[in-house]
C-alpha cells in the first residue's frame, strides 16, 4: 500500500465515528495495541521533545525502506504514534519526504489534538521526516 492509500484508509475509518468518544476510544485501542518497544531503544536520543508525554521513536533502514517503532508513557499518544507508524513505516525515504500530512486535519486530529507543543504531533512528524532525510543522504552517499 502506498502512503496515500493508507491515509485514505484511515480517513475512511475516522469518518465512521459519530462523536469524540468513539474517536478517543479508537485511539486508546490503537495505543494499547502498539507493539512494545524494547527498553534498549528508550534512550534520550530517540526521545521527541516538546511533548507533554514522553515519546521514543526508533527507526531502522532495511532494504531501502524505513521501519519505525515507538513507545510513549501516555496511551493516547501511543495511539497517535501507532497511526503514524502505520502510515510511514515500510516506505522509502523519498516516499516519506514527499508525503502530505494534511490527513491529520481531515480526521480531526488537528482539531482535537492541536499541532501546538502539547502533544508533539508536529514534532513526531518532523522527526519522521528528519529520519527519512538522514537515510536518504546516507543512501546517496553509498
Amino acid at each position: 500500500m502506498t502512503i496515500k492509500d493508507t491515509i485514505e484508509e484511515i480517513v475512511g475509518e475516522f469518518s465512521l465515528f459519530e462523536d469524540w468518544m468513539d474517536k478517543y476510544n479508537y485511539l486508546i485501542d490503537m495505543g494499547k495495541s502498539l507493539p512494545v518497544l524494547d527498553d534498549k531503544y528508550k534512550i534520550d536520543s530517540n526521545l521527541i521533545t516538546g511533548c507533554q508525554s514522553r515519546v521514543w521513536l526508533h527507526s531502522e533502514y532495511k532494504d531501502g525502506q524505513i521501519i519505525f517503532a515507538a513507545d510513549s508513557d501516555a496511551v493516547i499518544t501511543k495511539g497517535i504514534v501507532n497511526l503514524l507508524i502505520r502510515v510511514f513505516s515500510n516506505h522509502t525515504p523519498e516516499e516519506i519526504i514527499g508525503a502530505e500530512t494534511e490527513f491529520l486535519d481531515v480526521i480531526g486530529l488537528k482539531d482535537h489534538l492541536s499541532p501546538t507543543r502539547s502533544n508533539g504531533l508536529l514534532s513526531m512528524i518532523k522527526q519522521i521526516k528528519l529520519y527519512a532525510l538522514a537515510y536518504k543522504a546516507q543512501g546517496n552517499a553509498v
Binding site: 511533548c51 507533554q52 496511551v75 499518544t77 489534538l113
Partner: protein, 406 residues
C-alpha cells in the same frame, strides 16, 4: 446557586462560553485568570478615546494617557500598600520582574563566592534567572528543601544562611501545589541575617490582601493576567533603598534624563527601570482589575475559594486511584493530583473533551516534580467565580478517565 455568585459570573464574558458543546468549566486560573467585562471595556475605551504616547507630550491626549498610566501605578501602590508609587515598576509580568532584580541587584551586589537562596518549590521563572546569575558571577545557588506534603522545610533554611548570602527568592504561593508559604517567618529569618527577600507573587495577589510593608519583603513580583487583569503587564514592588542602589535594567525612552555619546544620566524612580514606550492600555486594565477585586471584596473571594478548596479536596480525594499532591496546612485554592497508572496527558485530554479546562504537566516546576518523583500532575485551580457544580463535573470527568483507561 447563590445570586451574588451568579452576578459575579455574569461579569466574566468568557464564563458564558461553551467548550465542545458543554458549558465551559474553567479551572486553569493559576495559569491565567479570566477578565471581567470592566477590564476588557477599559482597554477598549482607552484605545477608542484616549490612546496616546505618555510623558513629555504637551498635547492633551498625551497628558490624559500619562495621568491614566500614573493613576494605575498609584492604584497598584495602594493595593500592595507600598509606601510610595515610586516603588512600583511596571514590567511585562512576574518573569520580567524577577529577571530585572536578578540582573540589576545581581550586577550591584552579587560577586564571586556569594550565595543566593531559592526553594525547591519554585517556578522556573524564580529559579533560572538566579541560577544563570550564579553561573555568570561564580556564585552559589542554595535550595530550601521541601517536605513530601509540599511545605518548605523552614528548619533547614536556618542552616543555609551565612555571611555570603546575598538574597533569598521564594514564592508567596506555589503555583504547582497551592502551598501558602510562611513568608513572614522567612522574611524575619532572612532579615535577621541581613538578607533581603524577593517574593514571587505571581499567585499571591488573587487570593487575598497583600501588604508589602507589613510583610516586610524587599521585592514583590507579580503578573496582571493572573489577577483578573490583562496580559502584557505586571510589576515589581521594590523598597526604595534597594531600587536606588540598583543600576537600570534596560535602556531607552523615559528612563533617560540626559544623553550625550560620552555619557548618560538616568531618570529617578520608578522611570529609571521603565525603558521604551510603556504599555499604557494594559496598565489601565490592571488598575481596573484592582478596582474590580476591591469591589467584590476579599471576604467573598476568600470564603468562596475556601469552600471550593474544601469541597474539591473532599470529592477528588474520594475517587479511588486518585492521589492529591500537595497537602500543606495552608493552601490556596489549587488542587494538583495524579491518577494511578494513568498519564496526566491522557487524563487531561479526556477531561478537556468534557468541557472542563485543567492544566497538566510539570507546571514549570521540574525540580519540584523531580523531588516528588513524578513527571507532572493534573491541576485544577479555582477562582471565586467557580462553582461546586463545576467541581462535580470535574469529578465526573475523572471518573470517565478511569473507565476509559483502566
Amino acid at each position: 446557586m447563590n445570586t451574588l455568585l451568579d452576578k459575579i459570573r455574569s461579569d466574566f464574558p468568557i464564563l458564558q462560553q461553551e467548550s465542545f458543546g458543554k458549558p465551559l468549566a474553567y479551572f486553569d486560573n493559576a495559569a491565567t485568570t479570566q477578565k471581567p467585562a470592566m477590564v476588557i471595556d477599559a482597554i477598549d475605551q482607552y484605545y477608542r478615546e484616549a490612546n496616546s504616547n505618555v510623558h513629555r507630550g504637551v498635547h492633551r491626549m498625551s497628558q490624559m494617557a500619562t495621568r491614566a498610566y500614573e493613576g494605575a501605578r498609584t492604584k497598584v501602590a495602594s493595593f500592595l500598600n507600598a509606601s510610595s508609587s515610586a516603588e512600583i515598576i511596571f514590567t511585562r509580568g512576574t518573569t520580567e520582574a524577577i529577571n530585572l532584580v536578578a540582573s540589576s541587584f545581581g550586577e550591584a551586589f552579587i560577586h564571586e563566592g556569594d550565595e543566593v537562596i531559592v526553594s525547591a518549590l519554585e517556578h522556573h521563572s524564580n529559579i533560572v534567572p538566579w541560577q544563570q546569575l550564579c553561573f555568570k558571577k561564580k556564585a552559589v545557588l542554595r535550595v530550601i528543601p521541601v517536605f513530601d506534603n509540599g511545605e518548605l522545610d523552614i528548619d533547614a533554611l536556618k542552616s543555609l544562611f551565612n555571611s555570603k548570602t546575598r538574597i533569598l527568592a521564594v514564592n508567596h504561593i506555589s503555583n504547582a501545589l497551592g502551598t501558602i508559604n510562611p513568608v513572614r517567618e522567612i522574611i524575619r529569618m532572612a532579615h535577621e541575617n541581613g538578607v533581603p527577600v524577593l517574593l514571587d507573587g505571581a499567585q499571591g495577589l488573587s487570593h487575598g490582601p497583600v501588604d508589602v510593608q507589613e510583610m516586610g519583603c524587599d521585592f514583590y513580583a507579580f503578573s496582571a493576567h493572573k489577577m483578573y487583569g490583562p496580559m502584557g503587564i505586571g510589576g515589581l514592588y521594590g523598597k526604595k533603598e534597594w531600587l536606588d542602589k540598583m543600576p537600570p535594567y534596560q535602556y531607552g525612552g523615559e528612563m533617560i534624563s540626559k544623553v550625550t555619546f560620552e555619557n548618560t544620566t538616568f531618570n529617578e524612580l520608578p522611570y529609571k527601570f521603565e525603558a521604551g514606550t510603556p504599555n499604557v492600555a494594559d496598565a489601565i486594565g490592571l488598575g481596573v482589575a484592582i478596582d474590580y477585586l476591591q469591589g467584590i471584596g476579599w471576604d467573598f473571594v476568600r470564603q468562596q475559594e475556601a469552600d471550593l478548596l474544601a469541597y474539591g479536596t473532599e470529592k477528588i480525594s474520594a475517587i479511588p486511584g486518585v492521589r492529591i499532591i500537595g497537602t500543606a496546612a495552608q493552601k490556596a485554592s489549587i488542587i494538583s493530583f495524579v491518577m494511578d497508572k494513568i498519564h496526566f496527558y491522557d487524563a487531561g485530554s479526556i477531561i478537556d473533551q468534557m468541557g472542563v479546562a485543567v492544566r497538566t504537566g510539570n507546571h514549570c516546576t521540574q525540580p519540584l516534580m523531580d523531588r516528588l518523583g513524578i513527571l507532572g500532575t493534573i491541576r485544577a485551580s479555582f477562582s471565586f467565580y467557580n462553582t461546586r457544580e463545576e467541581i462535580d463535573r470535574l469529578v465526573e470527568s475523572v471518573v470517565k478517565v478511569k473507565e476509559l483507561f483502566d
